[in-house]
Symmetry: C4
Subunit: 387 residues, 4 copies
Amino acid sequence: MRDYVEIGIGREARRAYSLDDVSLVPTRRTRSSKDVDTTWHVDAYTFDSPILSHPTDALASPEFIIEMGKQGGLGVIDAEGLWGRCASLEDAIAEVTGTAQYPEEMNSRKAILEFEASKTRAVEVLQRLHAKPLDTDLLAERISQVRDSGVTVAVRVSPQNARELAPVVIAAGAELLFIQGNLVSAEHVQQGGEPLNLKEFVGSLEVPVIAGGVFDYSMATHLMRAGVAGVIVGAGEAASDSGVGVPLATAIADVAAARRDYLDETEGRFVHIVADVATYDDSELATALACGADAVMVGRLLAKAQEAAGGGSYWEPQAAHPRHPRGGVYVNFAETQYPLEVVLHGPSNDPWGGLNLVGGLRRTMAKCGYTNVKEFQKVQLTVRPSL
Amino acid sequence: MRDYVEIGIGREARRAYSLDDVSLVPTRRTRSSKDVDTTWHVDAYTFDSPILSHPTDALASPEFIIEMGKQGGLGVIDAEGLWGRCASLEDAIAEVTGTAQYPEEMNSRKAILEFEASKTRAVEVLQRLHAKPLDTDLLAERISQVRDSGVTVAVRVSPQNARELAPVVIAAGAELLFIQGNLVSAEHVQQGGEPLNLKEFVGSLEVPVIAGGVFDYSMATHLMRAGVAGVIVGAGEAASDSGVGVPLATAIADVAAARRDYLDETEGRFVHIVADVATYDDSELATALACGADAVMVGRLLAKAQEAAGGGSYWEPQAAHPRHPRGGVYVNFAETQYPLEVVLHGPSNDPWGGLNLVGGLRRTMAKCGYTNVKEFQKVQLTVRPSL
Amino acid sequence: MRDYVEIGIGREARRAYSLDDVSLVPTRRTRSSKDVDTTWHVDAYTFDSPILSHPTDALASPEFIIEMGKQGGLGVIDAEGLWGRCASLEDAIAEVTGTAQYPEEMNSRKAILEFEASKTRAVEVLQRLHAKPLDTDLLAERISQVRDSGVTVAVRVSPQNARELAPVVIAAGAELLFIQGNLVSAEHVQQGGEPLNLKEFVGSLEVPVIAGGVFDYSMATHLMRAGVAGVIVGAGEAASDSGVGVPLATAIADVAAARRDYLDETEGRFVHIVADVATYDDSELATALACGADAVMVGRLLAKAQEAAGGGSYWEPQAAHPRHPRGGVYVNFAETQYPLEVVLHGPSNDPWGGLNLVGGLRRTMAKCGYTNVKEFQKVQLTVRPSL
Amino acid sequence: MRDYVEIGIGREARRAYSLDDVSLVPTRRTRSSKDVDTTWHVDAYTFDSPILSHPTDALASPEFIIEMGKQGGLGVIDAEGLWGRCASLEDAIAEVTGTAQYPEEMNSRKAILEFEASKTRAVEVLQRLHAKPLDTDLLAERISQVRDSGVTVAVRVSPQNARELAPVVIAAGAELLFIQGNLVSAEHVQQGGEPLNLKEFVGSLEVPVIAGGVFDYSMATHLMRAGVAGVIVGAGEAASDSGVGVPLATAIADVAAARRDYLDETEGRFVHIVADVATYDDSELATALACGADAVMVGRLLAKAQEAAGGGSYWEPQAAHPRHPRGGVYVNFAETQYPLEVVLHGPSNDPWGGLNLVGGLRRTMAKCGYTNVKEFQKVQLTVRPSL
């Protein structure tokens, strides 16, 4: 059944599918959206909406993180971004987004070149800002302010800096720790360096850990055995342009299989799956859940929220990489902004599905005949390669 | 033979095909268009042209509905749209289409933003108009005016409101009742609510019922067993952007199989299949029939008719959904309008196939060697792109 | 091995491939272009270049037909187009192409609408010109003028009018008769009409007949058994937009199989295969031959010849259909024109392959290691669906 | 396992995959970029970066070739281009690139036509310059100047002129000889001409030979048996538009299989594989290595280097072919130029991956868990779209 082709003599490749290859087959029963329960929880924390924000400064103003929580979702703070490096977040963001104006006339070569150039200027600003020293006191102060608001606090650290930064952010109030890179492995191997023993490290923490991104059964199993509460599949915008990674419908289904096997192996330890998708298309939220995810981490889809830091611009942390920025920088692309509440729960006036993301997801689940995510993960699928 | 792939470990998906994946293989004999009979009938009603209009106010002026009938097709009235809510349909439509002008220069960002904004304004107008109370007397009066013209009267109600509205529209003269939502199930399940027992309901009506949209064998079988005269496969524009639904070539063929089995089960009760396609491409009319449909419901393809209410604009009812509008709104997209007679029967001066839809269908059937739909449903198919 | 999929329950479709899905695998030996022999022949007529022109008035000025012959190809005259209907071909063509100017600024909506409108005006002119009575004396006179030039004269008639027109055009000097419609069957069936018995008809003529277009083994076999000298696979521009027909790589290979079987059945009667492709891409010339064709009929690729009637415009006869024009009308699309000699044999200054079509074909054959078409038809293929 | 389909009756084709169909599956271990070793070597020559420049005058100024060597790569000089024909390379290049200005407003038809016309003028200039006699003294002098810089000198000759030019360029200092055409065979067959006996010829030379392009197992095996040190798979820009050639993921894997078998046959003679890709996408560098290549030859990706001769323009030698130019001419397409060091090794400010090509490759290898190319060639692959 698993589908391998020989792409050349003696060289096999597995056929893999992305989320937009997949459609959902409704069952015999439709349900009412009102009866749909999209609740998910990690440890003692419960969330009404299965939407997480990608840990990028382009989204994560304190207001945004707090509002995400109030709207039932989970906003994730990047501990290694601007929060701990810039006295004024507003000024820092303004410096990034002030580099470019979306041109009036895109067919003028001069305007296109200027627009292209402005994006590299934005990257340069990001690189410069990220090169500032990390002030852990400032970071801690900002995290604790969010904590004071009463919403669940989630903070992301990179695998490289997890050992150093986790104590800081946990002390400041982080209740969920995301150890998240474009790719996380059970063991990061570096010659001469001391690898992070993830199992030992996770075991030493007082807060649940969600780690990723991973792309396959084997890596996911390793994270689960290391004791994480959740596994992140995918790597947001970064996955789409590096040639590395498994298309997400396949990757999520593989990780869901790893979870089932781990559940059996441990006689009942259930690990959550978060799909970190890079999408403009709200239909992928449903297909990600249908393939096995419990919640979906999104980025650009939330950039039109008024509370988002970027004011209609978007980038992910790897765009600030000092030598090899990736993932694109979208400066001032979203002209009209809406309250995050409207983005997540409507009401929408956008007939193309860019608003009321959670409402749309509930409708899709209801139309397919399901009232909770666990059941919805059994919905029948069809595949067709998207052109 | 049925084709399943494992998209991830332990997760299967069925390969499915859309109408534009399919081409028709001509037989050894070509026929003359003149000899082609595209007649189809529901109960005692016979139609020369296998074309139905999607039940949207963007098409359904009274003139349009009457002309559809005169031209051998069937225009479907939306009982829950503007007909029962607005004293002047012309004014209401003008309010929608007046929100936007197709911009002169699409490459100006300002014009693009204004155009985008105008579409959300159009949605807001639709939402406001659809929020008006439904005046069933006004609705009934308008339906009876169409009835007076002598054409067959078909009216659509939603599954949610069928019980309440069906008696009204039937009393007003509806001869065919369409119970049509984006997705209709045999049983709509809502906690605390009382589900519509479709079988009982259909049995209680004096008029034939055509119900849908459905996407698979199982749901279609349920509708057939509920006693409907026809099943609608697909959901027009709504099917294309929600991630729910089976690509239509597969869905239609599955429903045609359900019909064959139901025919056997009932020793001869024949149920009609209507494919509700969202297409700009007249070739999909023929492929929909070739896959097993008896008639095709179209929307945007008819928006260029002079009799259409929207005057070159197009939307479907779900674009007026109060919290989650879907399916797109195309304001003033068709500059040139033609009499509906020309749109359906030519003569055409459009070498890209946008006019003379029925004539084109007859030619295709004749070229493939068939003179009626029943035989044409056996035409050999090829598919591409192959999965 | 033949590849069928079940697109829906109980409904099969064959996987089929188009010419641009196919690539050619070179052999161990490359050859010199100079050693490549692309000669093909029908009956006693030999042609150096395996290129025929589609029988459209957009190409076929007398100068163009004569030059095609002088350059080793074969120009085909449409007996049912303007040659027998218009006293001045130049004036008639000017009336068609004078309807439109390619707009300066395609992003202005006004210009786009005007351009669209101009194309329907062009169709209307074509329809009006084609509605003029056919003056067979005028047609005969023009054909005999071409005959006087010494080149081989090929004239196309439709299946419908073959019985009436064939004697006229043969008497006027046609040495090859093309019986060509979008689709030709062995037996055209019309209620009340008398079908053309192709076998009897072909047998009664003194000139070789090339007939088509066909799309499969069965239809091709019938034409062969009717005694044709050549079979046309495909239908030019018409095949691409009607949903009828088999993608050409598959269709050509099927017809080549029919030829092999017919060769066996008749102990040696060899029928030629002409592929009527609608392409802008010269690489499809080679792939058509590689799939089994002996020669390729092209249209738009030749429209940039200075000798072509349309002066850079292009359409095919079905664009003049009185009720259902198809196949597109491309008015003044090719700004720069080149002598037909340069289009066919170079030298080229176009690095995208639009000139030196025959030279390019010879190079491709040589690079693959073949020096004649018969051997080249064995070249190994790879397939990959084009996105 | 090898995957053949019957595209038509009795006609098979092999399913083949291109580099962008392929994604890489990371292993359980990620590595540090710093630990990645991309070294490769031919004979006694070692290169830190597995990047070669395509032998085109659009790149190969003497400064560019020298800087390629200094940056750890290998720049290849075309012995049959402008180096031996033009007293001033700068003037010659300026003549080519002076033919066109990238238009300010691409939507103006006049500007588009002028731009198109300018490209044919550029081809005409290239054709004229390439028609000048080859001054082997001038060529030798320029080669020896590069040699004086201390970098490894690689010079390309065509198969046709290899016998005549190889002694000249070797005497002038070429340390590696590239015998490279769009397609190289073990034996070029020409009627009346004397074919180059590659084995004898290669054996007679004092320098290692790298030859290609080839597309399959058989041709690669022949080159290996002729004694080459390296085989080139693919043909740069030329492969994409001629319809000849095997998609590169398949071709590279096939040639890697040929290498394994040849290694066995010779009990240990290892032949290098260079993939000559035409890509804008740096992710194909990694996938080419993953499919079996040791190094990648690129062209357009390097055109933004300040040292490149073309100053932001790009073409390959076949664009100067006297009768059949191919492969495109891109005049002044890259507005912003960067030092070659930045293009290859960063730091980058381009979040879409156009800079720091080697750094990006190292990161990809590290993320997949590999620290050298030999191991990386075992990375698991997925394919999509699946045929």
